[in-house]
Each structure stands twice: as structure tokens, then as C-alpha cells.
Symmetry: C2
Subunit: 362 residues, 2 copies
């Protein structure tokens, strides 16, 4: 099962919500002309249509306030011809769901003819890949575009901000159990939560940024998505990194699911704890205030959660490049800048970089 | 190439020695009856006849003061029928060399009919394996037997000493480039050095222990082996562990030779240094005095030494159990007892234990 995101501890797990009551709110908007009239239709481009991309593209579409153009790569022909099959515990069953437009590339004329107010980036975060995400985005970013990053890791905003300093960037921490079983067929179960916030690069007007965040949150909320706005979105990213830089990486190095790792490896929990505490120390040095009990909560949650194959392990199993730079490389570089020792993260970074290198050799 | 041992820095690398001058000394003994008459013939059992076992069994035989019984497992029939083919830069070419006796098990009547003054253990050090080395030795250890451990790692003497507290134990740190290309065919190039010392368990009389060490060193020296006696043999073992717990382990985790690891992995040298410094800290806490420049010397030596596949990596490649407990498990447990933090060793121990577990599942 292709689980794109990481389950989180109790505080973020919400009971599955039935489809009808969720949609009712959005549906009602049609019968509330005094509200509906105020709402402009947003042109939204979504880049990447895997598990996360498909579910949030659908969610935005369900808001009836966004018109979705999707860029598909591996599943372009399938989606173009048949749309997507989406079975979502949070948003319902769609056989098929069709975006307004399907394009094969950001530089295709069908992609560039529209001015997008939001571009959702849900591709795997591989800053070392060519072409870079910034280069892929260039043909479709216009003056009024807000770029929304629904990706793992830390430090992912920097190259985008460097390429488009005038454009607002929204950073998101996503918790979504979704999978693409076969090309164009998406299943999402139980967990759906997204925390969003503006990325302050010191250039974009902070009120504009705030408004763009609020509007994007509204688009998601109106569709029934479980969305929260947090002004300290970087804290949310580091909180998610606690899990991703520990369980995700150790499971990938050992090629074991979480449960097998915990039951097999001597002092597994102590290894995870040491690793998480390094992430916590860097996060503290950056001024974020992740509650220290988060570490133990995450361990308890993971131990009680049965066999789970993290995303990076799935990448390694299928021979895909892993998100080593954004989950380990950037954290260790940030740690070094702030004088925080991270020997374990450095070590895992070295080991998994070696694996990525081998995967590149084929 | 099956390199059983680790090359060491300049201080232990000796120029290859031609065969003739080496043997001349031993040969001359035959013409010195006043010396030869004083020397008793020692009954020696060697357990394990891979690269290290074969070369030192040969060396002892060349002394003409030892009669060698060897226990062979995988290569029993080959050695029984044809002897061993040994091409040794240090001791010469033998096609074949035959031990006095070849036995298939320590409990076979041909093995137990003799009283051994020395038993050389050159098997891989796997304290977790069954039957244990102590159990394998039990049928052949008698009152006057000295047990000689030519194995990697630290803490390997404890289970042997617990099983045979009255028997002297000699501990050895071996540097030998030897390989068994096919069953019964051994090649040893250039490097040959062994440092030996008594293992003080507080029970064995220290003068007896000293004498047994001196006699064993004499047996080796007389054959032309490059042998040194060191009263702090544990220091020698920890010094060798500096390399074995760092390059050996990281190369095994990444499945890369030393050069590829150094050239591919970000901050490879820093990872190695951190790891070696943990070993050094434990060694210091135990009261050994490894010169601190040893770390940088080992790094310089390894960097300049080209592609080299460490023993544990070779084990992993061929699907054999790796010496994880004696190279990482024991050091981390000893560190914990002495309150020395070893996060990197703990981490590598966890990761490689997971690999050993997978190898056991087959």
C-alpha cells in the first residue's frame, strides 16, 4: 500500500467523517447566494497527482470555488482518458473524478493559457533533481500566483522562494493515509489533516500572505477538509520531521516496517528517541516550541499502530529516489549553522545518501 | 577476495619478506641440536581452517616444535584428501601442506585422544551462535591446555574464561591479508602481524600465563611470523576495533568498499571520525592508552589504500552471520557499564543486528 504520509499521534487523529454531512456544508453554499456571490472561482494548478495531489485536488474541486488544472506525468493518459477513481473516506467515492483540465507539462500551451491563483505542489521533494521544482513551475507562475507546498521535510521553501521572491508561499504539513494502487486509482482511508501557514521570506507583504493563507484554508474547509492554520508552520514541519527523520529513516535503512523494526532491533526505541531528540534540539534552537512530550507520544503511537511501511522505505523498495535531502540533509545543515550536534542524523544522512547514489547508478 | 583481517597503518605494515630468509632460521634449528633438544613438541589443535587458521597452523608447523591437529568443517573432505594449497607471501608456497591430523569435530575420537597444550581458535566470533565456542572446545580442553583466541572484537574472552576459568587464555590481535578462494586453497599477501598477550581473569597464575604467552610467541617467531607480545593486549584489541567498528561497519551498512564509501557519502570521513572517537573514549575509560593520533593515521591509511572490502561486508554479501556482537554489541555494553555515551555505535549496532536477524530468517 502506497502510504504517502505519516500517521500522527492521538491529538491529530480524528474519527472518520461520513461523506454526507461533510458535503452538506459545501452544497448549501449554492443555496446561499448572498455568500456564494462573494466567492470568486479560483484557478488552481496541481502539480503531482499521486495520493496527496489527487485527494486535495478533489477537495478543492468540491469547494465549487476552484477550477482544477492538473499536471500528470506517469498517469497522464489514464487520467486524460478516464479521470481518476478516488475512494476517499473523507471526501467520498468518485468513479471517476475529472479535473477541469489535464495537462502533461507545465510548459504545454494548455497549461500556460491560464493565470493561476494557486499552484499546489504535491510531488516528492527532491531538491537535487533536475529540472528543479522551480524550473518546472516557472512557465505557470504569474504575478498573482500563490505557491502551496504540500511536501515533506524542512527547508523546502528556500529554493522556491529564491526563484519567486515576490510570490506568496504557503507551507503545509499534511497527514493523509492515501495510496495509488494502480495508475489513476486512489484510495484514502481514515486520516486526513492539513496544517497550513505562510512562509515569511521578508519580501512578500505579510497582510497579503495572511489573506492568501486564509483564502486557501477557506477553500479546503468548505469542502470538508480537516484544515488548521498555524502561524508557526515551520514548527509543524519540524514536528512532522520528528517521525520522518527517525522511524521513516531507520525503517528505510533496515528495510523493515515499524513493528518489525521495534521488535527486532536491540534498543530500537532508544535509537528512535535519540534521533527524535536531535530533531527536537535543532527545532528548539530555531525557536520553535514543540512540546517535549511529543517524542514519547509519537513513540507510543507508533508502537501501538502495528506494521507500517513508511514512505521512504516504499520508495527504496520500488527503486525510486528517496527524500533524503529534505528529511536529513537540510536538517543537518540547519543544525550545523546553529551549532547543534546531530551525530545520528548525520550518520543516517550518510547511509541513505549512499543508497540514493546506488539507486541513481541503477 | 576473502580478506579476513584488516590492514593497519604504516606502523604495522612491513615489507613483504622473501620466503627463503624467513625459513632459514627455522631450518637452521635442525642443525643446532643443543637448542633443538631443549624444545618439546607441542600438541596444537586449530579450530577453524579458513585464511587465518590455515596460515597460523602452517606457521606453527614450520616451527618443527608443534604437531598440528586441525578441525575442519566445510572443507573437511578436501583437506583430509588433498591437504591445503597455501600461497603465503610470508611463509612460502605449499602444494599441498598437510597438518599432522585432520578431524571433522572436536568430539570425534581422533580429536579427543590427544592432550593439547594449545588450542587455536580462529573461527568467526559469534557469541550468540549455538553450539557456543566454549561448548565446541569442551571435549578437547584439558588441564594443561592454553586457549589462544585469534578472533576479532572485544569481550570475546569472557565466555571462554567463564567456561574454563583454570585454563590460561592468550588473546591475539591479528593483521593478516589472507583469503580462501576455493575450498582448501589459501592465499596470503604482504601483511602478516600478530600481537599477543595473556588474558588475566584473576584465577590463572600470572607467571604461568606469562610463560604460556612467551612459549607461544616463541613457536610463532621461530617459524618467521611477525609476532609481538604486549601486556596490554586489550589495548591492541580496542585499537583494531577503531577500524572494525567504523570502516568495517559503515561499509557493511552501505554495502560499499572503503574507497566508494569515502568518495560517495557526504562527510564520510567525519562519520568515521565520530565513530572512532566513540571507540577511543570507551578504550580510555577502560584505562588503555591508545595514542589519539591513531584515529587520523587510520583514516589517512585507509583513504590511501584504494578499494577494500572489509570482512563483515564480505560476510553480508555471501549471506553469512556477521560479527556484530563482538564488534558493536560488546563495545556498546562495555561503554554503558562505564557511562560512556556511544550513540553512533548503538545506532550501527541496531542496524546491523537487523541485518543479522534477516540473514537468520534466510
Amino acid at each position: 500500500m502506497y502510504l504517502l504520509c505519516i500517521p500522527l499521534p492521538l491529538l491529530v487523529v480524528n474519527p472518520p467523517v461520513a461523506l454526507k454531512p461533510r458535503l452538506r456544508w459545501a452544497d448549501q453554499l449554492e443555496y446561499l447566494p448572498q455568500t456564494a456571490n462573494k466567492l470568486a472561482m479560483e484557478e488552481v494548478l496541481t502539480l503531482g497527482l499521486g495520493g496527496v495531489g489527487a485527494v486535495y485536488s478533489l477537495a478543492l474541486d468540491l469547494s465549487k470555488q476552484a477550477r482544477i488544472t492538473t499536471v500528470c506525468r506517469s498517469n497522464y493518459q489514464v487520467v486524460k482518458d478516464n479521470g481518476l477513481t478516488i475512494h476517499s473516506d473523507s471526501f467520498g467515492k468518485f468513479e471517476p473524478w475529472r479535473p477541469h483540465k489535464v495537462v502533461s507539462s507545465t510548459s504545454s500551451p494548455e497549461a500556460t493559457e491560464t493565470e493561476y491563483s494557486y499552484i499546489l505542489v504535491t510531488t516528492k521533494a527532491l531538491p537535487e533533481a533536475t529540472p528543479s521544482t522551480a524550473d518546472i513551475l516557472r512557465p505557470v507562475v504569474s504575478k498573482n500566483t500563490t505557491i502551496v507546498l504540500l511536501q515533506n521535510g524542512v527547508g523546502i521553501e528556500d529554493p522556491i522562494s529564491a526563484a519567486f521572491p515576490e510570490n506568496p508561499i504557503i507551507s503545509c504539513s499534511v497527514y493523509l493515509s492515501s495510496s495509488q494502487f494502480s495508475s489513476g486509482v486512489i484510495t484514502q482511508t481514515a486520516l486526513e489533516r492539513v496544517v497550513i501557514g505562510g512562509f515569511d521570506n521578508g519580501v512578500v507583504n505579510s497582510m497579503l500572505l495572511k489573506n492568501r493563507v486564509a483564502r486557501f484554508a477557506e477553500l479546503l474547509r468548505v469542502s470538508g477538509a480537516n484544515v488548521a492554520v498555524n502561524d508557526d508552520i515551520q514548527m509543524e514541519r519540524w514536528k512532522k520531521l520528528l517521525w520522518n527523520a527517525s522511524y521513516n529513516t531507520y525503517c528505510t535503512v533496515t528495510m523493515m516496517d515499524t513493528l518489525t523494526f521495534c521488535e527486532t532491533v536491540p534498543n530500537a526505541t532508544e535509537l528512535i528517541r535519540t534521533c527524535m531528540n536531535e530533531v527536537l534540539a535543532v527545532s528548539n534552537a530555531l525557536g520553535h516550541s514543540i512540546p517535549p512530550e511529543t517524542v514519547e507520544n509519537l513513540i507510543k503511537f507508533t508502537m501501538g499502530n502495528g506494521k507500517y511501511k513508511p514512505s521512504m522505505l516504499l520508495d527504496r523498495e520500488r527503486g525510486s529516489q528517496m527524500e533524503v535531502e529534505v528529511l536529513l540533509g537540510n536538517p543537518t545543515r540547519i543544525a550545523k549553522e546553529h551549532g547543534v550536534p546531530t551525530p545520528i542524523l548525520n550518520s543516517l544522512y550518510g547511509i541513505l545518501s549512499a543508497e540514493n547514489w546506488k539507486l541513481r547508478q541503477g
